[in-house]
């Protein structure tokens, strides 16, 4: 549910940015130093990191024939990658 809300808000934000014709510099101007932006998008990254492994485990078992344990480890590893990459991206547009 959290993820669904995040996706809808993110869609709205993107449509706003694109329709508004904001350039990259202008977008960064609005995201830099914005704690609300950082907070919302960090929650989004966390929700993804929780949601994605569930599906990836199923795919690994059903399509790649992995066992239950190895599929779970692969999914966890991917979740960590998503967490790191996502939080790094949030940091990049907010704090750097």
């Amino acid at each position: 549910m959290v993820l669904a809300v995040c996706v809808l808000v993110h869609l709205a934000v993107m449509i706003y940015a694109v329709r508004g014709g904001l350039s990259a510099a202008e977008i960064l101007g609005r995201t830099r130093g914005s704690w609300s932006f950082a907070a919302f998008y960090s929650v989004f990254v966390l929700a993804c990191a929780v949601h994605v492994p569930v599906g990836v485990t199923n795919i690994a078992q059903e399509w790649w024939g992995m066992g239950e344990r190895s599929a779970a480890w692969l999914a966890r590893a991917f979740a960590v990658v998503l967490l790191l990459a996502g939080l790094r991206a949030v940091y990049a547009v907010v704090a750097s």
Partner: protein
């Protein structure tokens, strides 16, 4: 008398299709074809049938890629564009010989899904009254006619991808019992059908409901189980 070319699986998991030519007749069913092959062409062919009138489900086989009851499948309905017929055993089950599969795994899944009734009443008590029009009884009755033929189990890709998945028949039966107000195993049953081997692995592919020869809808039954399990989980009853 025109002829029909038939490819029939011979062997076990290791094996091959053997070609036969049988006389083509009007109103000929696939079971007629298999029987002709065994009687006149290949006495060592192994296959199952019983009632041959579409009641028992014993004759289920894979015909041109789809699981069907062979006694209820007219050859004219299933010939491919080149007029060929390919007969193989049911999918997703170990092959005993030729067209015969080992169905014990299929019924073991039934038992693991707690697909059996357990009540408290004895012969000394009066019948328990169950309102036939109640939503629960209607839901149970909608799925109760399953005779365990294995066509749905053979048609489900998820069973093929995930061998421990209980499958449409077992989960359909579990759903009918979840809706049976007399049964006393409800918590155990919900626990048995929750989880990766249970209802949550169903991807709603729908082949089970499409191919059930008795026109049951395991897809809907499994959806009902998903709802019931989710509610129980949220309430902390699981």
């Amino acid at each position: 008398m025109s002829k029909l070319s038939v490819n029939v699986w011979r062997g076990r998991e290791q094996g091959a299709f053997s070609a036969y030519e049988v006389p083509r007749q009007d109103s000929q069913t696939v079971l007629d074809v298999v029987t002709h092959i065994q009687r006149f062409l290949e006495p060592s062919l192994g296959y199952r049938f019983a009632c041959r009138v579409g009641m028992c489900g014993s004759c289920a086989m894979t015909v041109n890629g789809k699981a069907r009851w062979t006694c209820r499948t007219h050859v004219s309905q299933v010939l491919d564009s080149q007029g060929r017929l390919e007969i193989a055993p049911l999918s997703n089950l170990p092959i005993v010989k030729d067209l015969v599969t080992d169905m014990s795994g299929f019924f073991d899944k039934w038992a693991r899904a707690k697909g059996h009734f357990k009540g408290t009443a004895t012969r000394h008590q009066d019948f328990q009254r169950v309102e036939p029009a109640s939503p629960q009884r209607v839901a149970a009755s909608a799925g109760i006619e399953c005779i365990g033929c294995g066509v749905c189990h053979a048609s489900c890709d998820v069973v093929g991808w995930r061998p421990e998945f209980l499958g449409p028949a077992a989960l359909n039966r579990a759903w009918t019992l979840v809706n049976d107000v007399r049964d006393i195993q409800q918590s155990d049953r919900l626990r048995a059908v929750a989880g990766d081997a249970g209802c949550h692995s169903c991807h709603t592919q729908g082949s089970c409901s499409e191919r059930c020869p008795k026109h049951l809808t395991p897809t809907l039954s499994i959806a009902g189980l998903k709802r019931t399990v989710a509610k129980a989980a949220v309430r902390g009853e699981l």
